[in-house]
C-alpha cells in the first residue's frame, strides 16, 4: 500500500505532510511520557522488530502468502505514541533507503499507514478492554478487533485522500470498493496474526504489553493457610467504574446489533426511490447524488456479492469508525479534566 510519487497531487501531498509532521511531533512528546529517556533505544528496537516482522510471511493457501502491517500490533505492544513513531520511522527508512513509497508521498504514507492504523487500532482496543472482563482472553479478543478495523480504516483514509487529491478521475465508488473490499480481507489476516502474537507475548511477559498493563495479578498473602488479597496501595473507586463499563457495553452492543443485524435485513430491500431508479435504469447515468461519492456509498461494501451481508458489514465498519471518533473526543475531554487527579500508575516494566 506504499503510495508512489505522482499518485496524489502536490497540494494534498503537502497537506498530508503537514498532518504527518504534526502527528509525529505529538507522538515524540507522548513517547517521552510513555518511555522517558529510554525512548530512543526502545523505540528504535521496536521499529527494527516491526521492520523484521513485516518480512515474516504467513502462508495463506496455494502458494500465496501475506505479511503483517503492524500498526495495531505496535500500538498494543508499546503504546499509541511509540507505535506511531516506530511505524513512521519504518516508513521513512523504507522511502529513503529502499525507494518503497515516494519521497513526496511520505506524508500520505505516514498519515495513512502509521497514524490511522495505530490510532484506530488503539482506540478500538482501549474501548474493548474497557468493556470486556479483565482477563487475558479479552486482551486477545480486543487486539483481534483492533487489527481487524485498523486495516479497512486505513483503506478508507486512503480513499478519502484519493478523493480529494487523486491525479486520475477514477470513480471514487470504484476506488472505495476495491480498496475496502481487499483490505477487509487483509484485515482479517492481520487480525488473526495480531491476536495470536499479542496472545503469545501476554502469555510469557504480560508486563511488556502496554495494552495489558491493568491485567497484573493482585498480590496474594497466605494468612493462616488461606489466600488473602494484599491491601491495595491505591484504592480504586470500583462503583463508578462498573457503572461506566455497563454503559459502554450497552451502547456498543446496541449500536453493533443495530448496524450489523438491522441493516442486514433492511438493506436487502432497497428503498422506493432506489428501486424505481434501478427498474428504470436511470441509476446508470451520471446523475448520482452527492453521498454516492462517500466511501461506504449506498451503505454496502460492493465487492461482496450478498447484498445483506455487505450492508451489515458496512454498518459494522460505520459503527467502528463512529465509536473511534466519539471515544477519541471523549478521551481528549476527560484526559484534560483529570490530568492531575488521576493516579499515575508507575508500572515495573
Amino acid at each position: 500500500m506504499h503510495v508512489p510519487d505522482g499518485f496524489i497531487n502536490a497540494p494534498i501531498s503537502a497537506a498530508t505532510g503537514v498532518v504527518a509532521a504534526g502527528a509525529v511531533a505529538v507522538s515524540l512528546r507522548g513517547a517521552r511520557r510513555e518511555l522517558d529517556e529510554r525512548t530512543a533505544p526502545l523505540a528504535g528496537l521496536v521499529a527494527a522488530f516491526i521492520f523484521a516482522v513485516q518480512m515474516l510471511n504467513f502462508p495463506v493457501a496455494a502458494g500465496t502468502s501475506g505479511h503483517l502491517l503492524g500498526g495495531a500490533l505496535a500500538a498494543i505492544l508499546v503504546g499509541p505514541f511509540t507505535g506511531v513513531l516506530c511505524v513512521s520511522v519504518v516508513l521513512l527508512m523504507q522511502g529513503i533507503l529502499f525507494a518503497d513509497g515516494g519521497l513526496t508521498a511520505l506524508g500520505v504514507n505516514i498519515t495513512d499507514m502509521a497514524i490511522v492504523t495505530t490510532v484506530v487500532g488503539y482506540a478500538v482496543f482501549r474501548g474493548l478492554v474497557k468493556v470486556l472482563p479483565r482477563s487475558r482472553r479479552s486482551i486477545t479478543v480486543a487486539s483481534f478487533a483492533a487489527a481487524l478495523l485498523s486495516v479497512p480504516a486505513a483503506a478508507v483514509a486512503f480513499t478519502l485522500i484519493y478523493a480529494i487529491g487523486g491525479t486520475t478521475d477514477i470513480a471514487i465508488g470504484k476506488v472505495a470498493t476495491a480498496m475496502i473490499g481487499v483490505h477487509v480481507l487483509i484485515g482479517i489476516g492481520e487480525a488473526v496474526i495480531t491476536a495470536l502474537t499479542v496472545g503469545a507475548v501476554v502469555a510469557v511477559r504480560p508486563d511488556l504489553v502496554y495494552g495489558a498493563r491493568g491485567l497484573q495479578q493482585r498480590l496474594k498473602l497466605r494468612v493462616n493457610g488461606e489466600l488473602v488479597d494484599a491491601p491495595d496501595a491505591t484504592p480504586v473507586p470500583a462503583a463508578a467504574r462498573t457503572s461506566r463499563r455497563k454503559l459502554w457495553i450497552t451502547g456498543l452492543v446496541t449500536s453493533l446489533v443495530l448496524a450489523g443485524f438491522v441493516s442486514f435485513y433492511a438493506s436487502a430491500n432497497p428503498d422506493g426511490l432506489e428501486k424505481v431508479a434501478h427498474d428504470k435504469g436511470i441509476d446508470k447515468k451520471e446523475e448520482k447524488h452527492a453521498s454516492s461519492d462517500s466511501p461506504l456509498a449506498d451503505y454496502g461494501v460492493k465487492d461482496i456479492a450478498n447484498a445483506r451481508l455487505s450492508g451489515g458489514l458496512a454498518g459494522v465498519i460505520g459503527v467502528g469508525v463512529t465509536v473511534v471518533a466519539g471515544s477519541g473526543v471523549f478521551w481528549a475531554v476527560r484526559r484534560r479534566r483529570s490530568t492531575d487527579t488521576s493516579p499515575t500508575a508507575v508500572e515495573n516494566v
Binding site: P4, D5, G6, F7, N9, S13, V24, A25, L28, A31, E37, R38, T39, A40, P41, A43, G44, L45, V46, A47, A48, F49, F51, A52, V53, M55, L56, F58, P59, V60, A61, L77, L85, C86, V89, L92, M93, I96, L97, F98, A99, D100, G102, L103, T104, T167, T168, D169, I170, A171, K174, V192, I193, L196, T197, V198, G199, A200, V204, L208
Partner: protein, 253 residues
C-alpha cells in the same frame, strides 16, 4: 554486526556524487522529486529530459545502468496498478487495438508511471551513493528532530540483528520438521513473532543500560559535524534547478 557497516543498497565509490555532503544530496533529491511531481503530465518530453538528467547524475556517480534498473524493480506492483487504470477510469473512451480505454485513465497511468519511476530512480541514486550513517547525519542536519534520528539510527543499526534472530528462529523451526503450509500454522509463526518482540524489547533495555553506563543522558554526542561549502551546495542543487527550468518550460509551452 560483523558483516561490515554499509547497507546492501550502498555502492562504494569515490565519485564526485559520493563526496557531496549528505544533507545537500537529501535536499537535492527531495527538491527534484517535488519538481517532477508538479510537472504537468501533458509535457511528455519534460519527463524524458528528467530521465536524461538522472542519467547524467548516475554517470557522474559511476552507478552502472544495470544496477539502477534492477533496483527499479521495486516499482512493479504500481506498474500493475497503473496498467489497470485505463480500464476502470471514467470519461471519454478511445479504441486501442480493439480495447476500449479511457483517455483520462491513459493519462493517469502515464502520470503515475513516469513520476513514480523518476521518484524511485532518484531515491535509488541517493541510497546507492550515500552511506547509512551519513544519511542519518544528513537528516539530523536538515533539522529532523534528534530523537527521531536516534530512533531511526537504532532501527538501522539493529535491523540486521533482529532480522538475523528471525532467520535463526526460522532455521530452528525448520530443523525440527516444521513447514508453514497454510492458515493452520499461523499459531506457530505468531509465537515466533511474539518471541521476537520480547527479544527485541529486552535487547532495547540492555542497550539502554549499556548507554547509560557510558554516560548517555538523552542525546547523542555529535562527533563529526558535517558542513557544506557554497560550492558543494550549488553543485548538488544543480540537479533540481535544471529540473525546475524543465518544469517551467513544461508549464509555458
Amino acid at each position: 554486526m560483523g558483516a561490515g557497516h554499509a547497507h546492501r543498497l550502498y555502492r562504494h565509490g569515490h565519485s564526485p556524487v559520493h563526496a557531496l555532503p549528505p544533507h545537500t544530496k537529501l535536499a537535492a533529491a527531495f527538491a527534484f522529486v517535488v519538481v517532477v511531481v508538479s510537472t504537468p503530465r501533458e509535457a511528455i518530453w519534460a519527463f524524458g529530459l528528467y530521465a536524461v538528467l538522472l542519467g547524467v547524475v548516475a554517470h557522474l556517480a559511476r552507478v552502472p545502468a544495470a544496477f539502477l534498473l534492477k533496483r527499479l524493480l521495486i516499482e512493479v506492483p504500481f506498474v500493475a496498478f497503473a496498467v489497470l487504470m485505463p480500464f476502470v477510469a471514467e470519461g471519454e473512451q478511445v479504441d486501442v487495438l480493439g480495447l476500449s480505454l479511457s483517455v483520462n485513465g491513459l493519462w493517469g497511468a502515464w502520470n503515475v508511471l513516469a513520476k513514480g519511476t523518476l521518484g524511485v530512480a532518484a531515491s535509488v541514486l541517493l541510497a546507492s551513493t550515500t552511506e547509512l550513517r551519513e544519511l542519518l547525519l544528513g537528516l539530523q542536519r536538515l533539522k529532523l528532530p534528534p530523537l527521531l534520528v536516534q530512533i531511526a539510527s537504532f532501527m538501522i543499526r539493529y535491523g540486521d540483528v533482529i532480522t538475523d534472530e528471525m532467520r535463526r528462529m526460522r532455521i530452528a523451526r525448520e530443523s525440527r520438521g516444521f513447514e508453514a503450509r497454510g492458515v493452520r500454522h499461523w499459531g506457530v509463526l505468531a509465537k515466533s513473532a511474539g518471541a521476537l518482540f520480547i527479544r527485541s524489547y529486552e535487547r532495547g533495555e540492555r542497550v539502554h543500560l549499556a548507554m547509560v553506563s557510558r554516560g548517555y543522558a538523552g542525546s547523542m554526542p555529535v562527533i563529526d559535524e558535517v558542513t557544506a561549502s557554497r560550492a558543494q551546495w550549488s553543485y548538488a542543487l544543480a540537479l533540481p534547478v535544471a529540473a525546475l527550468v524543465v518544469c517551467l518550460l513544461g508549464w509555458t509551452l
